[in-house]
């Protein structure tokens, strides 16, 4: 499996009236064919900005790349002109958004919205694009595609709209599919269907997927690798099993603890106290220091380097330093019975 995406030291900042917000600070990850990388983290951790900047969809200005590179197929996307990006968007990389109720154009038939990309990127005739549209709708499991293709989005249900959105994203067989919280706005029953669909399609087409989510259930269900983001940085990354069964970062522990489980007798939901740091004035040390129950003096002023826990797992935490005391993850962060997909 070859590497198709390599993000190195990526930093993105936004100019605002209140000052420069450093939304993403030195993010690094890579992605291979057929792989699904989940980027998890709470609101404001920079995960959506990271994902959208891979397609250069973050509005610039006010946004700007302050450092780093995005190597996709051997080309640096940071240096591409807008015109060059138009060629890549939709053909090589495409995206699924969070809210299917608003992400389809209400005044255009679903068929036309699918056909647009095909006509632009593959020089298809209108007729051919229409036929391919019917196939795509069938692929994503929409019944009666021949009739449905001529309907408007408001005639679709929420789950069907997200399926249509996936059909649009898949139209040109992209090498990379970015799904920005694709199931957040859907009913739980529909969520599972959409995740199954994405997995099935990945098996058929071999596309790599980046899945942005804050739902660890979705991660367990769909991802093969996980990157945990906090305060604009990736604090821990590893295979899905490693993140669930041997997490090393206190923030990951917090995330796992706050995942409700059916077995536990606890009435109350666990939460991580406090709120994420203000990225207008990012902390010098570890961004999690103010909320970390195990914080030490060193955490305040020095950002920890990544420690290789295994060949695939990397964690940025001072607790892994040999001079640090041994800390066991809390009982609530132990997950049992979570079936991961990998």
């Amino acid at each position: 499996m070859s590497k198709i995406l390599e993000v190195k030291d990526l930093s993105i900042a936004f100019e605002t009236y209140g000052g420069e917000v450093q939304a993403v600070r030195g993010v690094e990850f890579d992605l291979h064919e057929q792989e699904t990388l989940a980027i998890v983290g709470e609101s404001g951790s920079g995960k959506s900005v990271t994902a959208q900047s891979l397609m250069r969809l973050t509005p610039m200005p006010p946004g700007k790349f302050t450092s780093g590179s995005i190597m996709f197929n051997g080309e640096n996307l940071v240096d591409k002109s807008d015109k060059q990006m138009e060629e890549i968007r939709g053909r090589d990389i495409s995206m699924i958004f969070q809210d299917p109720m608003t992400s389809l154009n209400p005044t255009m038939t679903v068929g036309k919205q699918i056909a647009e990309g095909l006509i632009k990127h593959q020089n298809m005739s209108k007729k051919a694009a229409h036929n391919r549209g019917v196939e795509l709708l069938k692929l994503v499991g929409i019944p009666n595609p021949e009739t449905r293709i001529n309907q408007y989005p408001h005639q679709y249900s929420g789950g069907m709209r997200q399926r249509a959105m996936i059909a649009i994203a898949l139209a040109c067989d992209p090498k990379l599919l970015i799904a920005d919280e694709p199931t957040t706005a859907l009913d739980v029953t529909i969520q599972a269907q959409i995740l199954d669909l994405m997995r099935e399609i990945q098996k058929k087409t071999g596309t790599a997927i980046i899945l942005i989510t804050h739902d660890l259930g979705v991660v367990a269900n769909a991802a093969s690798r996980v990157a945990v983001m906090y305060g604009g940085k990736i604090v821990e990354t590893g295979n899905v099993d490693e993140i669930f069964y041997q997490p090393k970062h206190p923030y990951t522990w917090g995330l796992l603890s706050s995942m409700p489980s059916l077995d536990s007798k606890e009435e109350e939901l666990e939460a991580i106290p406090g709120s994420p740091p203000d990225l207008k004035d990012p902390p010098k040390g570890c961004p999690f220091v103010t909320r970390c129950p195990y914080a030490m003096k060193v955490c305040e002023n020095h950002m920890p380097e990544y420690t290789d826990v295994s060949a695939t797992q990397k964690t940025a935490c001072w607790l892994l330093d040999e001079r640090a005391p041994d800390v066991e993850p809390p009982q609530s962060a132990r997950v049992e019975g979570v079936k991961t997909h990998a």
């Binding site: 807008d82 939709g90 958004f97 632009k120």
Partner: protein, 311 residues
């Protein structure tokens, strides 16, 4: 669709009836009558005149006659201009107002939408500021001042266009522009704000993520959604252009329907008031119906059906 149209037609008839009734009683409530003038008529002659025009009958009989006449579109002769039927007056003067109105609507719509889109696309840049300065000027300068400024510059100083009257197409340009300024400015502002909102919406991001160029995104995906508020403004626009045309018509010396309408009111010319009111109302109600049908065409979410009107 047929059911919907039928239903709307019934509404139109009901509204017309209400308009006709209110106009009648307002006319009666206003002091004076068609034959009141500086030179007092002898009581005998006045009584004769009143009898000839049926003004001596009791109020409810007059009202009945009036309603029947209104719905048969037979308004009878003018009280003021001897030998002229109301229908003649309308037939003579309406074409001027129609041409003027259509030209003004065309100018207001095309330039207003264009300015609004430019302002939204160049948000907070030079193009935006220019368009909005034009819009604010257009809204704050009343049409009669605009008219005289236009006359001064283009007719008197430059001599490029005729200063008044209405003979050729060239005569219609200045009054149409003057009539169009305020709605143009309003449409530009409406279009700007709705386009800004649309350009920030999720489906625009989707279109971009498909690799569509800025042009396709703006015009193919944005415009049709953003133009909806403008379409719904078309109804009131027709009203403002029709009623606004009186001032413009008198400034440019155009014998249009707007000036007839206002003159008939000052003259207490009952039949002409009635005729022009009914005519304007029909025009208005039909243009609103057309706007509603148009709305259904632009936005597929609005279905035109008989059940429960618009849904």
């Amino acid at each position: 669709m047929a059911r919907y149209l039928l239903k709307r037609l019934v509404y139109i008839v009901v509204s017309l009836f209400l308009i006709v009734t209110i106009t009648f009683f307002l006319m009666q409530a206003a002091p004076g009558g068609p034959f009141a003038s500086e030179k007092k008529l002898t009581p005998a002659i006045e009584a004769q005149m009143n009898e000839a025009y049926g003004l001596d009958e009791p109020l409810h009989v007059q009202y009945m006659n009036y309603v029947v006449n209104a719905f048969s579109f037979d308004f009878g002769p003018s009280f003021k201009y001897v030998g002229q039927d109301v229908t003649d007056i309308i037939a003579r003067s309406f074409p001027y107002s129609l041409i003027l109105g259509l030209e003004a609507i065309f100018i207001a719509l095309s330039i207003g939408v264009l300015l609004g889109v430019v302002a939204a696309v160049k948000h907070n840049k030079f193009g935006d500021y220019t368009a909005m300065v034009i819009a604010v000027l257009g809204i704050s300068v009343p049409s009669f001042i605009m008219a005289t400024i236009l006359q001064y510059i283009f007719a008197i100083k430059l001599g490029a266009l005729p200063v008044g009257r209405f003979d050729t197409f060239w005569h219609s340009i200045l009054p149409a522009v003057a009539l169009a300024t305020t709605p143009l400015a309003f449409i530009a502002r409406l279009m700007r704000s709705s386009m800004l909102e649309v350009l920030n919406s999720d489906y625009i991001k989707t279109a971009k993520s498909k690799g569509m160029s800025q042009k396709v995104v703006t015009y193919k995906h944005g415009l049709r959604n953003a133009i909806l508020p403008v379409v719904s403004y078309l109804g009131p626009l027709v009203v403002s252009i029709l009623t606004g045309s009186f001032i413009i018509e008198s400034i440019f010396g155009i014998p249009g329907l707007g000036s007839e309408f206002v003159q008939s009111v000052t003259n207490r010319d009952y039949t002409v008031i009635m005729g022009t009111t009914v005519f304007f109302s029909v025009l208005l109600l039909i243009s609103i119906l057309i706007v509603d049908l148009l709305y259904g065409l632009v936005d597929p979410r609005i279905k035109v059906t008989g059940k429960g009107g618009k849904s």
